[in-house]
């Protein structure tokens, strides 16, 4: 098949790295790469050429490709430039932006949305959300570290002792866990909170403390008044988190609710109560942010607190982000491209969930 790799317009990553190009060619595909696609992630056109890819102009990609790949969807008008039978693979985020569906339908193409791949075990190797979130979590800590006017680790020196910084991670999903791990490595004191039940153990499995109302488990064991207590418990928990935020030097938030605005975890008032110099990294900025002060893709200072709203941090680690992304896509392609032939099997959960438009027919149901 003719596979076309588009250059991102507003992202440092590239969806397919040269190593993967080689693998695709080995499977009887022709791979076209837009000029300079990998420039910003340090994969030069030469490298693509060496791997067997053809460096072409953007227009050629639209004209010739049977399969098109990008990380972020191209502009709507470019979608219509694609071949009628083309398969376009990217993250459409239909749950956030359902206006794109008719556009795709009109173009008559098949749209495969990476973010719709179900999070089941076998699909883990295609899960771009995980691999990108992991990078974001890691980078969030480094970023917090560079903006923090303090050391992370404890240091006992001839000029007095530096206490370790306190880091609070809200939302212990993929990004949150990676942030916990990275912050712990740097020697910070790390606490975390998440609403998921399993999160407590997961947090502790990284050696961090889980923020918990004392006696919570006793309450649970008591049974009976489950609902009532849960409400009370939740309130206590909220208060507790507010307290912990006030005491933290860095707060990294990652709480996302799929298809919804991110929950507000840090109110303006809480920010005011934080110590001067503190840093908030809001990885949920893309979905409205977990902090009321967050501005998407901006770093703002409020009352001596730095709030970092750069949500797509994975793009700032473009080399490895692209490498992981590329591997994810390769694994994904293997599901429906065999020996250079398309074989979309809608019985497979992966296909049926992630193919949001099939030959112009909208399959996605919100």
């Amino acid at each position: 098949m003719q596979i076309g790799i588009l250059k991102e317009t507003n992202d440092q990553r590239v969806s397919i790295v040269p190593e993967t190009v080689q693998k695709l060619i080995d499977e009887n595909n022709v791979v076209m790469i837009e000029e300079g696609a990998g420039e910003e992630s340090f994969y030069s056109d030469d490298l693509y050429g060496e791997a067997g890819g053809r460096i072409v102009k953007r227009k050629d990609i639209f004209d010739k490709s049977e399969v098109l790949i990008s990380i972020k969807p191209v502009e709507d008008d470019e979608i219509s430039k694609m071949k009628k039978s083309a398969v376009y693979i990217t993250s459409f985020q239909p749950f956030l932006n359902d206006k794109i569906l008719p556009v795709l339908g009109d173009a008559g193409i098949t749209a495969m949305s990476l973010d719709m791949i179900p999070r089941i075990s076998i699909a883990q190797s295609m899960d771009v959300l995980s691999s990108m979130a992991s990078i974001s979590g890691y980078k969030a800590v480094l970023l917090a570290g560079t903006h923090l006017p303090r050391y992370f680790p404890m240091l006992t020196t001839a000029a007095g002792s530096i206490p370790p910084s306190k880091i609070l991670i809200l939302g212990a999903g993929v990004a949150g866990l990676q942030a916990i791990a990275t912050a712990r490595r740097l020697g910070a004191m790390v606490e975390a909170f998440d609403t998921r039940l399993a999160a407590r153990e997961e947090v502790q499995s990284l050696g961090a403390k889980f923020v918990e109302v004392e006696g919570a488990r006793d309450d649970k064991a008591a049974g009976g008044y489950a609902v009532e207590q849960t409400e009370e418990y939740k309130n206590k928990q909220k208060e507790l988190i507010a307290e912990h935020i006030a005491k933290s030097d860095v707060v990294i938030t990652t709480a996302l609710l799929r298809g919804k605005r991110a929950p507000v975890l840090i109110t303006k008032e809480m920010v005011h109560r934080m110590r001067p110099g503190s840093v908030i990294v809001d990885l949920a900025a893309i979905a409205g942010g977990n902090c009321e002060y967050t501005q998407k893709d901006k770093i703002v200072k409020e009352k001596n607190v730095t709030i970092i709203g750069i949500s797509e941090l994975s793009s700032t680690v473009p080399m490895h982000a692209s490498q992981l992304y590329s591997k994810n896509i390769l694994n994904y392609l293997k599901v429906f491209i065999r020996e250079g032939q398309l074989a979309l099997d809608f019985d497979k959960e992966i296909i049926s969930s992630s193919c949001i438009v099939h030959e112009g027919v909208i399959k996605y149901k919100s």
């Binding site: 993929v174 866990l177 050696g207």
Partner: protein, 462 residues
């Protein structure tokens, strides 16, 4: 040669026995210990063959014949037996030893000169030998039968405790009765013999599966005591001391074995009598074999190549440091240890890397899944620490499984698999793991950190 010298040589063979048994209790010296004990035995036999009794008929032909027959049978059996059938073998061998005691004792009773003072140590010794030899004999055969499976575990006596208790009392009274009688009565001893044989059967019969090794060890100490008793008949030091050594160490070993199972000896026997511990499993394919820390430690220490497969449980237990320590200890013992890192082990990408880096495990010890799978066929032991889904063979075979198609670290290719986890609970994917019931698999239950620490101390002691 003169008697004193031979008596002295007997002493030498006793020393061989002692040193041999001592050697047998340490892994490094176990083989040597066994050979020493065997040498002691040969010495003792040779001495006995030439011990000057005066003008005895000797009958060397019969002796040679007996030894030949026994040696051939014994060695063929020992060579042919499968490693998995060893306990059966030991049990039946032990029964033969008991039988020998029984035969000697009964013959000696028969040859007691008429008019022998019956209420004497001598007669008591003979009667006791008959009893203990017979019990060891029949009990061992029953144990053999049960282990081998041709005696069904489910054969039960009604009220076994009572039957056994009554039987034992009857035997004691019977013995007392014989000694109180005015004259030797050979027939009545044959009845005692019969009763003893029956007691051996009813004693062992109700004891079930997992407790068998304990019983065999106990019967073994009976045989030892029997040999000592027979020694008393002849006033032969080597039999007495050798038998007592076996009796004492056998009893002590029995207690140690019970301890290793976290049970008391009484509990095993009474429990056996009450048949409470026996839980028959009809689901024969699904047998979980538990490993002990000691076994695992030795297994690891004497391997060439070990692969550790860490999973989420390692993280939960925060056992990374202990794990690294174990690895270093093994490396010092000359074992090659590496880690097989599954891409989705843990709960976040790179979870295992974070852990192992924290414990300062060098990067070059980490194998990726594909490399690990390549190494597995030549790996002696795989130590799965708190991993579950990532080693679940259902991913390869069970199309209905939610993890079907996920590549796994295929630990079953290795020679031995030890799985450390706390229970039989499932992992993240919530599915059962057929690996746990595998032929090569043993489970080492408990918190990973605790288990690792125990392993460490076992290895340093072993």
């Amino acid at each position: 040669m003169e008697r004193p010298i031979l008596d002295f040589l007997y002493l030498v063979s006793i020393v061989f026995f002692i040193v041999g048994l001592r050697g047998l209790s340490h892994p490094e010296s176990a083989r040597r210990g066994n050979l020493l004990a065997a040498a002691g035995m040969i010495l003792a036999i040779i001495i006995t063959l030439f011990y000057p009794f005066g003008n005895t008929p000797n009958n060397y032909g019969w002796i040679a014949g007996g030894i030949l027959v026994g040696t051939v049978i014994g060695s063929v059996a020992a060579i042919k037996v499968k490693m998995t059938k060893m306990p059966e073998m030991v049990s039946i061998f032990n029964g033969f030893g008991g039988a020998c005691t029984m035969l000697i004792a009964i013959t000696e009773f028969r040859t007691l000169p008429p008019g022998t003072e019956l209420l004497s140590g001598q007669v008591f010794t003979v009667i006791f030998s008959v009893f203990i030899g017979s019990v060891a004999f029949s009990g061992s055969l029953v144990a053999y039968g049960k282990l081998d499976g041709f005696l069904r575990d489910s054969i039960r006596l009604p009220f076994p405790q009572i039957v056994n208790g009554v039987l034992l009392l009857v035997i004691i009274f019977f013995g007392g009765y014989i000694m109180m009688m005015d004259e030797l009565n050979y027939t009545i001893v044959l009845i005692l013999l019969g009763l003893s044989i029956i007691y051996g059967i009813t004693f062992v019969m109700p004891i079930g599966g997992g407790d068998m090794p304990v019983v065999i060890s106990l019967l073994n100490s009976f045989t030892g005591i029997g040999a000592a008793a027979a020694g008393l008949i002849y006033g032969n030091q080597v039999m007495i001391v050798g038998g007592i050594l076996v009796g004492a160490s056998g009893t002590f070993l029995t207690i140690l074995m019970c301890e290793a199972m976290n049970r008391s000896l009484i509990n095993v026997i009474i429990g056996g009598l009450g048949a409470t511990t026996f839980t028959g499993g009809d689901d024969k394919d699904k047998v979980v074999k538990e490993a002990s820390h000691g076994d695992t430690a030795i297994l690891l220490k004497y391997s060439q190549k070990v692969l550790i497969v860490p999973g989420y449980g390692l993280a939960v237990a925060q056992a990374q440091h202990a794990c690294h320590e174990l690895e270093s200890m093994l490396e010092k013992e000359g074992v090659q240890v590496r880690y097989g890192i599954h891409p989705v082990a843990g709960r976040m990408p790179g979870h295992m890397n974070v852990l192992l880096a924290e414990a300062d495990v060098p990067y070059d010890k980490l194998l990726e899944m594909e490399e690990a799978n390549k190494e597995l066929p030549t790996t002696d032991v795989v130590l799965v620490i708190g991993a579950n889904d990532v080693v679940n063979p259902a991913a390869k075979t069970d199309t209905g499984s939610p993890i079907y198609g996920m590549p796994i670290i295929d630990v079953e290719m290795a020679k031995n698999v030890i799985i450390m986890k706390r229970s039989m609970r499932t992992g993240y994917a919530g599915i059962d793991n057929p690996l746990f019931y595998g032929d090569k698999t043993k489970m080492l239950f408990g918190d990973a950190k605790d288990s690792l620490n125990k392993l460490k101390s076992e290895i340093s002691n072993a």
